[in-house]
Amino acid sequence: MKLVGIVSEFLRGLGEATLFLFTMIAALPAALLRPRLVVQQIYSIGMLSLIIVAISGSFIGAVLALQGYRTLAQFGASSALGVVVAFGVIRELGPVVTALLFAGRAGSSLAAEIGLMKATDQLSGMEMMAVDPIKRVIAPRFLAGLIAMPLLASIFSLMAIGVAGGHLVGVVMLGVDDGSYWSQIHSGLHPHDIIESLIKSMVFGVAVNWIALYQGYHAAPNSEGVARATTSTVVVSSLVVLALDFILTAFMFR
């Protein structure tokens, strides 16, 4: 009986979250009419996540280059280092790690912000002023997250492959030829790799923003509720991102 209760509670939550997603999507046109609100949110969600994403990208690209170089050098194929780093970053690590960082940095802050707005009656206050909080507060944040995620993932990949990560370690430190590094990337990487990477990051963007906003909006209106919403956002988003990554990769590798 307990299992039935858990399952029915899970399904109830899933149904509620799905309804919430449809409500947010229905409110997107209203958000598009208020570009200033969206730009403000792109700044606070995206721009303020930029440094952590860029630094992480640099380190991950650097580590991939170090590990890749050791293996490739055994076969005299170190000139292929660029494409190894690029595949790893563009197909997988760029979208996935960015989404995980985004969940930790932006997702948690979104959930806490919305949860606190609820706990302090700001959302109720808006409703009583005949302003729909879904349109005024939630939809602009959702849209901003959808725009910010692919941009952040692209910046992550650029930092990892070219600017500071793989290129710095492979070419500058380990002496891989600069021309081979880039030409291998150019010939090995196809446009569909980049499109698939962007699709992944968009899907992750929807998932993380949806989870964060849902958790915040449905948080119990007290300090414990806000704390729980913040934690759940990071935990659930991270698991969902990893699961979705597997599903998307399986489909894209057909």
């Binding site: 009656d121 109720s124 002023m129 005949a130 302003v131």
Partner: protein, 273 residues
């Protein structure tokens, strides 16, 4: 002095509302007369705030009706309800100011959302409303930079920004020092007269509330215990109303929380929890 017909702005009939098994309202009738200040009083936990949320259409009753200016609040579409709410202002207990906006922007918020007025006119209206609550000087400050009493005054300026027909005050005096309380009391009364409002004042600060109300209800245990002018309430002989007005620690509202175990068994048996 029971108000009738067109004089009534909000009419509550046979209202029943419960949170799960906990019954908050068990069939109450309340009339809010137009142009007057009506107090809803009662001990903590009797659902006074709930009543305001029901009138504002944020929650739905299990049974009964609430009419605002002749229209059933809970039979409106979402768009109609939002139109209705433009004619209602609500002052939340903590002010509920938007923390990322300044005092000025908070008061401008409903005007920018609904009025369609040019920015220069919005500025004038906001400054006038802030002047009315004595906080024009605080316009550039953020909510975290002002006191709780000031936040309520800003919220009041915001609540009347769209010149509503009805303003609902949720515990406006709780936790205020005597000066802030005096300021808020004067504002409730003078704004009601100056703007031709109808006010519902939910509170348990008995003397203060009765001194500025035209009409009052005492609510407890899901029922209306007493209704009438402040004078009629003050002279009520109902034991529960007397306990509430006189602040007696024990009476019909028991001092001890209900329990099925007697004291001695609890102490000796060690069977707490």
């Amino acid at each position: 002095m029971t108000p009738t017909g067109q004089e009534i702005l909000v009419r509550v009939r046979d209202l029943r509302f419960a949170f799960g098994p906990r019954v908050i309202y068990d069939g109450i009738d309340i009339d809010i007369p137009r142009g007057k200040v009506t107090a809803i009083m009662g001990p903590s936990g009797t659902g006074k705030t709930t009543l305001l949320r029901l009138i504002g259409g944020q929650w739905r009753p299990q049974a009964g009706t609430i009419e605002f200016d002749g229209a059933d609040v809970h039979k409106q579409s979402r768009a109609q309800l939002f139109e209705m709410r433009k004619r209602m202002g609500m002052l939340f207990q903590n002010g509920a100011l938007l923390t990322d906006l300044t005092v000025f922007e908070n008061v401008a918020f409903p005007l920018r959302e609904h009025s369609g007025l040019p920015e220069s006119m919005i500025r004038d209206v906001v400054l006038m409303k802030l002047e009315a609550v004595g906080l024009r000087g605080a316009a550039p400050l953020y909510p975290e930079q002002i006191s709780g009493g000031m936040a309520r005054r800003v919220a009041l300026a915001r609540a009347v920004a769209l010149e509503p027909a009805l303003v609902m005050y949720d515990e406006p005096f709780t936790g205020q020092d005597p000066i802030s309380m005096g300021v808020l009391m004067r504002l409730v009364r003078t704004l009601n007269e100056a703007l031709g409002l109808t006010s519902i004042l939910v509170s348990h600060d008995v003397e203060e509330v009765l001194s500025i109300s035209d009409y009052a209800y005492v609510v407890a245990g899901g029922k209306v215990l007493e209704r009438g002018t402040p004078e009629a309430i003050r002279t009520s002989q109902s034991p529960m109303v007397r306990q509430f007005l006189d602040g007696k620690p024990d009476g019909p509202v028991a001092f001890n929380y209900k329990t099925s175990r007697d004291y001695a068994t609890d102490l000796l048996g060690g069977a707490a929890a």
